[in-house]
């Protein structure tokens, strides 16, 4: 098992969305944590099939179990911006040619983001991946893909380090019908695996963080990430 302590000033974990409000999940999702770990390990998970508009996910990626915890719950904010987009319909069409395939319209939008992320990411059931993550953190792996970030390439990470003893934290537990869980206000839906081409294949679950910080990772907090 490997436990990483993550600290970042800002982050966003976008849910699938279109429109003028760009929301964020209220905490790092298992799918985003998995993407971050693969990035650190130097494993490319993106796949360009040469046809699709969206970035697809490669096959044969390493399987593992992930558990997430908040050392502190992040705060949500929003930012108003003029952002570039591909409009629906004819809006801004006369500018299409001059942007050479880029987004040719500018609209005001409200983008949500989180601040002060202090989290634990635990990983188990894949020793090889753990080793690669450790090497990646020390800069020992020649990586194809730049510096790690949290949901938006502007959102840098301050600290990402292996810890041997987990600190007391609020572990996120997926809610199941037979779970006995102390419900609290931080209950939230988090994505576990995503499929950008076919949204119905995206897996998500309702998660509830333990009401009190606990030191040992609850067995029920583990989720399997398998693509």
């Amino acid at each position: 098992m490997l436990i990483l302590k993550l600290q970042a000033p800002f982050a966003s974990f976008r849910t699938f969305t279109a429109g003028s409000f760009r929301p964020t999940a209220s905490f790092i999702t298992p799918s985003a944590a998995y993407g971050l770990l693969l990035n650190v390990a130097g494993i490319e998970m993106r796949y360009d099939d040469g046809k699709s508009v969206m970035t697809k996910i490669d096959t044969g990626l390493p399987e593992c179990s992930i558990a997430l915890a908040a050392l502190k719950f992040p705060k949500a904010h929003s930012l108003y911006q003029q952002i570039h987009n591909y409009p629906v319909g004819n809006t801004g069409k006369k500018r299409k040619d001059i942007t050479k395939g880029g987004k040719y319209n500018i609209v005001p939008a409200r983008r949500a983001f989180l601040s002060n992320i202090k989290a634990l990411i635990a990983l188990k059931d894949n020793h090889k991946l753990e080793e690669k993550i450790q090497s990646g953190l020390q800069g020992k792996i020649r990586r194809k893909y730049g510096l790690p970030f949290l949901g938006d390439n502007n959102f840098l990470i301050d600290r990402l380090e292996v810890i041997t003893e987990p600190e007391p934290a609020h572990w996120y537990i997926p809610i199941k019908a037979d779970n006995e869980i102390e419900y609290n206000e931080y209950i939230t839906r988090l994505t576990i695996t995503i499929d950008r081409a076919q949204m119905s294949k995206t897996r998500s679950a309702l998660f509830v963080p333990t009401k009190r910080p606990v030191k040992d990772i609850p067995q029920k907090a583990w989720v399997t990430v398998k693509y």
Binding site: Q7, P9, F10, V40, D48, G50, K51, S52, V53, M54, T55, K75, H77, L79, Y80, Q81, Q82, I83, H84, Y86, G92, R95, I98, T99, K100, G101, G102, K103, I106, P108, R110, S115, N116, G136, L137, Q138, G139, K140, R142, R143, Y145, G146, L147, P148, F149, N153, N154, F155, L156, I157, D158, R159, L160, E161
Partner: protein, 312 residues
């Protein structure tokens, strides 16, 4: 090898809005930290100004702002080309094209003599930046101004500004901002000279904080701290600048170097933070291998020379 840096600007009045206003009140964008709201400037605004600065410093850039359109607009010279355009190289792009459009674009590229095999529809940004956050909380300062009535006769010009005098109300703040940036130098290898100019541009950055006609605000560093490291993350709080009694401080890292939490040789300090240090602290940091330079632009030049020197 990677670069992690934080810049702290000088204090000046600024007015970063443009996103949204409340009736005739132009509002600053802010976030809440603890009990107070702090003004912020988006990394997109910083990146936009950086493109202009790269162009000013002589690098070829693909995207340019069109300043005389009905709405905010940009123009590209060509499809993205990281070998030809510095802004494409550092800031990446996204062309959201389906298979039909992809074929059309690739055909067009081939006709123009470009190699479609070498073309990519997406590239992530090599340059990483983050929100600029004010050091001082917003204290509800606002300025009232009044625009004059436009009584120009129609025979002179048919278009008039608002016919009645308008009362304008805008939020302003008097504060320095700090913002971090990062670069993976392995990705910059092919364009070492461009990377050095990019750092230079960061050292001379201007025209970011909005409403430039009324508020001249420089985003260039008053103080700067840089770490050159093999680690993938900075390893310290990248918003670590503090100001106490007018002095620029970065206690987590300075204390960390002195206590051997961090290798001093990986750290570079420049500008006011160095001028504000007393002699014993300066000497202790030098003994630990840190590089200190009173002029932030000079420090950036030192880092620019050093960053590819290891041959990595």
């Amino acid at each position: 090898m990677n670069i992690f840096g934080t810049i702290l600007t000088y204090a000046a009045p600024s007015a970063n809005y443009r996103g949204e206003s409340a009736e005739n009140r132009s509002v600053l964008q802010k976030i809440t930290q603890g009990r107070f709201e702090y003004p912020i400037i988006s990394p997109e605004a910083i990146r936009n100004a950086l493109r202009d600065t790269l162009r000013e410093l002589g690098l070829p850039c693909n995207r340019e702002r069109l300043n005389d359109e009905e709405q905010l607009a940009v123009k590209f010279q060509d499809y993205p080309d990281p070998d030809r355009f510095a802004d494409d190289f550092f800031m990446g792009w996204l062309i959201a094209a389906g298979s039909k459009d992809r074929k059309k674009i690739l055909k067009e590229l081939k006709e123009r003599g470009r190699n479609p095999e070498a073309f990519s529809f997406k590239r992530d940004s090599i340059l990483r930046m983050n929100l600029a956050v004010a050091l001082e909380p917003y204290r509800y300062d606002s300025i009232f101004t009044q625009s004059p009535q436009d009584v120009t006769p129609n025979e002179i010009k048919s278009y008039k500004n608002a016919e009645n005098s308008q009362l304008l109300h805008r939020e302003v703040t008097y504060t320095p901002f700090q913002y971090p940036f990062a670069l993976n130098l392995n990705e910059c290898e092919q364009k070492k000279d461009w990377t050095k100019i990019l750092l230079k541009a960061i050292g001379q950055l201007n025209g970011v904080a909005g409403n430039h006609a009324r508020s001249y605000f420089e985003m260039a560093p008053a103080s700067i701290i840089i770490r050159l490291t093999n680690l993938l993350v900075a390893g310290y709080s990248t918003y670590g600048f503090e100001i106490k009694d007018g002095k620029h401080l970065f206690p987590e890292v300075i204390e960390g170097i002195l206590q051997n939490d961090y290798p001093g040789s990986e750290f570079y300090f420049g500008g006011k933070i160095v001028k504000d240090m007393d002699e014993p602290q300066l000497n202790s940091l030098k003994e630990k291998g840190a590089t200190l330079e009173r002029n932030p632009q000079k420090l950036i030049d030192i880092v620019a020379e050093k960053m590819f020197a290891s041959g990595e």
